[in-house]
Amino acid sequence: MSKYLDLSLKEIHELLKKGEITPTILVNECFEKIENSNLNAFINTYKDYALLEAKKLEEMNVPDDILFGIPIAIKDNIMVKDMKCTCASRMLDNFVSIYDAGCIDYIKDHHMIIVGKTNMDEFAMGSTSETSYYGAPHNPWNYNKTTGGSSGGSAAVVSIGIVPLALGSDTGGSVRQPSSFCGIVGMKPTYGRISRHGLVAYGSSLDQVGVMSRNVYENAILLNAISHLDKRDLTSFDTDIDFTREIDKPLENFKVAIPSFFISDIIDPEVKEKIMNIKKILEDNKIQVDIVDIKYIDKTAILYQIIAMGEASSNLARFDGIKYGYSYPNPASLDDLYKKTRRYGFGEEVKRRIMVGSYLLSGENAKIYYNKALEIRDDLKKNFLDAFKKYDLIIGPTAARCAYDLGMNQNDPLKGFMDDILVMHANMGGFPSLSMPIGLNRENLPIGLQIIGNLYKEDTIYQLASFIEKKVKFDSKKVRNGI
């Protein structure tokens, strides 16, 4: 089996330019890896389509674009025309997309080759990908461990080297937490950086498409490719910066904050140790690192649950058996169609969140819970903005612990939220945030560092991330010997 996909994008690009390899060779290698893996990381793959696309590219001159011909995996809640988009739900098991998401327009413009749609938590609700109608994906570092979630499939396929790049979505950590568990780089950019057109909504004011890669530089390259103003999304903004521009520039007068909450007792000691190690590396390089307190940072999970479940209850109301998707046959009435379609079409976690969300918005509750959450959310964002007046970046662990055993979270409705307790802040305030691997624990499971930046400051995040990447020299290839 060829191993071209293990090379860096720059190296692959050189070989394509020289004509030593073709996109077809890359696609075949990718599908060989898919066929030899048992991670349950894809929901649907599209080999015929991918080979056809590869063939088309072979009739073109290779342009100066290192994304040209690169296979990519897409989370199954992002629309790709003529491919199924299941959201890992029975509700959309047979749903065929008739349009491309905003970000997919650019994936196609860059002649990347979409090989499949990845496994995830049903409608992105969860942090282990176990709520998938198709069963959970497995962590390449340890088959019995969770990939994390909800973008677990995307994290797994990048980690194992099936594809160099993948797209995920991040509502409360769903790109960064599985990236951390699978030892890859995952970025949730500033809210509005990537169009949400074609991303199936979970919590509209929190959702953002995210990019997943093996290293920091390639992450920035993919973000460059897919962030554009899209007038089909009123929260999308114009973006014309090169996210690689600060990489390798000296970190002069850099100031970094670690919120005390991020190194409190809730953090696994091994994880905390690795974070403190990063602190030391930074300080050794004359970067000021302060431990700070940010008000409401420990209350975010409460706000997050109220807002995410409230919005979800409304966003998922459209799945009613009338226009598309699963439809309960021969209902006794309109109401019967609704209730049975949603009973059999949705899984437990989704139903629970929709019900809680409906309750939180119902009658007077809207004031007591939802509006209050929006008010405190505004304060929380301001507190982060204040911190960014003094500090370039905020860092901490991505997750309080490493990947754990599959099945551990079942029967605990709260666990799904508690895994994301360190990553939700970025979604609440719209801030960009990246997770990168900084080492392994004793069980050989990756540990992730989270870097949160001020709004629109992805380039600064990549600058520090690239610096740390060079210092810690995380060996991501270690995992691939398992194939």
Partner: protein, 93 residues
């Protein structure tokens, strides 16, 4: 804790059918989730400005809508009659 009637009411609002057995489980699960979000009641000392979206965008008063596809919109419809989408009889109107 929500009463069984309240859980039924919520399920009804969400248009999700639940059985008698499920009712018990949901009552328990919802209690766990609601006990958590109830902690919001203990938070005070915040200002009353609301943030319903993190976007800094201001609305463009000159904006024009961008085309999206209307081809094949009936492709995924479970029940059709001619060019219409079919639903069970609507009442109330």
């Amino acid at each position: 804790m929500l009463t069984k009637e309240e859980v039924m009411h919520v399920a009804d609002l969400a248009r999700i059918e639940i059985t008698e057995e499920e009712l018990q489980k949901y009552q328990k699960d919802l209690k766990i989730l609601l006990d958590e979000v109830d902690k919001i009641k203990d938070i005070d000392d915040f200002d009353d400005e609301k943030m319903f979206s993190p976007t800094d965008n201001t609305f463009d008063l000159e904006r024009k809508n961008i085309s999206v596809t209307n081809e094949n919109v009936l492709l995924n419809v479970p029940k059709k009659m001619g060019n219409f989408v079919e639903a069970p009889v609507m009442i109330n109107e």
